[in-house]
Symmetry: C2
Subunit: 422 residues, 2 copies
């Protein structure tokens, strides 16, 4: 089945390179991009054209790391660094998700917000509670959005009210995998919270489950200085934070996303590269929790794949436009810190990370190249224009800098329009 959408088509095939078609045509076949044209070929002349006029068509945003059960803490708690923040704000909040009523009303708000902000795909940390995570998965599926959802595992160094028995944690995870694998558009992902909260037995068991079901894995890596120190104390036999994950078979090549990587040293960076790990860059969160500035300009030079994320609720901006802007700022500040050793990066580099960079984790997602999922946003930027004429690159940049969810007038996934879920 073919569909044709007309509008100002903008996307990035390669990092930093804009491809744009003024009044172009997006031809979609069976939910996938077939092609993009400046002038529509004769063969398509008889198809109905959905005309978005002067609006922009951009790939849907892909949020590669966020914590669903922190949604009610959005915009709060930025007065502490990671470890204290977890104790004071995060664990008490996540513990509430044992209650399925609380889960449902909170996740309605979450899923609505993802929809509003044009996040068509996301990679999600749930809570430790199996049923709550299954409900989350069903609700996202129902909305039409796509996601990897992980049941969080934690069996040590966690508060009494929010900790698991090792064996039960693994049983629940296997159950969760079985249930979620049946849900449309949702994939389970192995989710050890982070090294300090996972015993060796738990990590080893999760590595086995990942192998058994051929699953991807998400976790945290070198976010905060005190956290990195703590990991060294807990695992004196490992040289780096990443070595711990490696030791317990949690680094599956091409199948891992690690959030933050702010303090990764040279050796750790080499392993990130060797395992082709996707770095989930969370500048808003790294600012809020005073974590520091990740060395993204150097990761880019090393050809490490970087995706952008909200890291809700460490980060408070679900709209990835704001995350792109903050990533750009952090990149500029980091470049000064690194004595301008690396190339200057621009908005288009970070726009790529929020679409195709993150999207790679899902397969052909985040671009308008042939065969990519037809996941796109229709952008009405009429209220953020000025008295001068602007070209498409300027309009895209301005949407990122000045826009918000209110500028997203429609969302399409696999070529189908999706409506506000709840």
């Amino acid at each position: 089945m073919k569909k044709i959408y007309k509008g100002n088509v903008v996307f990035t095939k390669n990092i930093g390179e804009l491809t744009s078609f003024e009044n172009g045509y997006l031809v979609v076949e069976n939910g996938k991009i077939n092609s993009v044209y400046k002038i529509l070929p004769k063969e398509y002349e008889e198809y109905e054209i959905i005309d978005f006029k002067d609006k922009l068509l951009v790939p849907g945003f892909v949020d590669i790391h966020l914590h669903a059960p922190q949604i009610n803490n959005l915009g709060l708690g930025a007065d502490l660094e990671l470890l204290n923040w977890l104790e004071k704000y995060t664990f008490p909040e996540e513990a509430k998700y044992k209650d399925l009523d609380y889960t449902e009303k909170s996740y309605k708000a979450l899923v609505n917000k993802l929809w509003e902000n044009g996040t068509t795909s996301s990679v999600i940390f749930g809570s430790i509670f199996k049923k709550s995570n299954i409900l989350l998965s069903k609700m996202i599926s129902q909305s039409g959005l796509k996601a990897y959802v992980g049941k969080v595992n934690m069996d040590r160094n966690s508060p009494d009210y929010y900790i698991e028995d090792t064996e039960q944690s693994l049983i629940d995870t296997e159950d969760f995998i079985g249930e979620v694998s049946k849900i449309k558009n949702i994939k389970p992902i192995i989710t050890p919270r982070f090294v300090p909260s996972c015993s060796k037995e738990l990590m080893y068991g999760l590595g086995e489950l990942a192998e058994k079901y051929d699953l991807k894995i998400q976790s945290h890596l070198s976010e905060n200085i005190d956290e990195v120190k703590w990991v060294r104390e807990l695992h004196p036999d490992c040289k780096n934070y990443i070595d711990v994950y490696e030791k317990y078979n949690l680094l599956r090549k091409n199948k891992v996303v690690m959030a933050h990587c702010v303090w990764s040293n040279k050796e750790e960076t080499k392993k990130i590269k060797d395992y082709n790990i996707t770095v989930a860059h969370a500048p808003v969160s790294n600012g809020n929790l005073a974590s520091g500035i990740a060395p993204i300009p150097s990761y880019r030079e090393n050809k490490i794949n970087v995706g952008l994320c909200s890291d809700l609720s460490g980060g408070h901006e679900i709209f990835l436009g704001k995350v792109i802007k903050e990533a750009e700022t952090f990149g500029k500040l980091r470049r000064i810190e690194d004595n301008k050793k690396y190339n200057y990066m621009t908005t288009l580099d970070y726009f790529y990370m929020a679409t195709k960079g993150s999207g790679k984790f899902f397969g052909n997602v985040g671009s308008f190249e042939k065969g990519y999922d037809a996941d796109f946003l229709v952008i009405d930027d009429s209220n953020i224009q000025d008295v001068n004429e602007r070209n498409l690159e300027e309009r895209l940049k301005r949407f990122i800098y000045l826009g918000n969810s209110g500028n997203i007038s429609e969302r399409y996934i696999n070529g189908e329009k999706i409506e506000k879920p709840f």
Copy 2:
């Protein structure tokens, strides 16, 4: 004339300290704050009470540094550092303000945006064009907002199409001062653009005008590394950037605001302190133009007064809530850079800077203490709440982190409600 406003009153008397009154009363007399009460005293019982119910009442934002004729560049041009950015984007745009039609239509948008975003007072750089600046001043006055407006001066190192003759620049400035002094709520301010674009004769002449009319002065100081180097080359007789302003009598004690101060060294910082200069901190701009992170935590420890600003269009966020958030992030990053030598600063510290910190430049502005101008915003935060009850401090923080102009339901200046101007 007394007026009584009821609502959740929040403000900061001292940096970092929140004063709040749940369902409190703001008593206003002749446009000034008379007092704030938790329980309304009997003597006021017969007055009409304007009841804002569960909304927040906060001081109006004070933007202590912005460039009016850059409004149409908002959200664009963040791909260059200061000096190249001025040449490529800024000077060509400012030059358009020779045309009064362009001025009028552009400034309508600007004044509307200041109103929308709750910026009740601002300190403004205009263009070099006298008439355009007078029109700006009249338009702001008409809106009911308050401002210092400066006619920009530049007679060297500037493009042919946007440069002044020294003598004419001083004549125009004196004319401008005369005209603007008659306009309600607007005050003229002496505005040498920055050292590189002002000859010694011009600076000296401006210093004389400041003395003659007892005026305040605004300029830029140590924003960007290349700019600082250039100033040293232009003035080898001066030890620091600030010494140039001092030499030409442009540092009037208690009467100067200097934007940025990112790269001020120890000696320069001492002079900032000695002259009681207000530092206009522009984190969003300092990120966009890759200027660097100003040492605000150390300025705070030195008891230097800091105000916040949008620095439009170096900065693209007119809503000072976003600037407060970015200042907080920059402060945290700077603290890491300074090896955590200075105290941790929180949202309330930066909220103070955006209200009373900036407001001091206007006199008794930016607080709800007795005798302060009754400039306040009514905040409807109902669309940024979650399923849990939140206290006033949390609600204020969330307004700053998640809010925008849409959450500002009313604006009052000197106790009078002001409507959308254009």
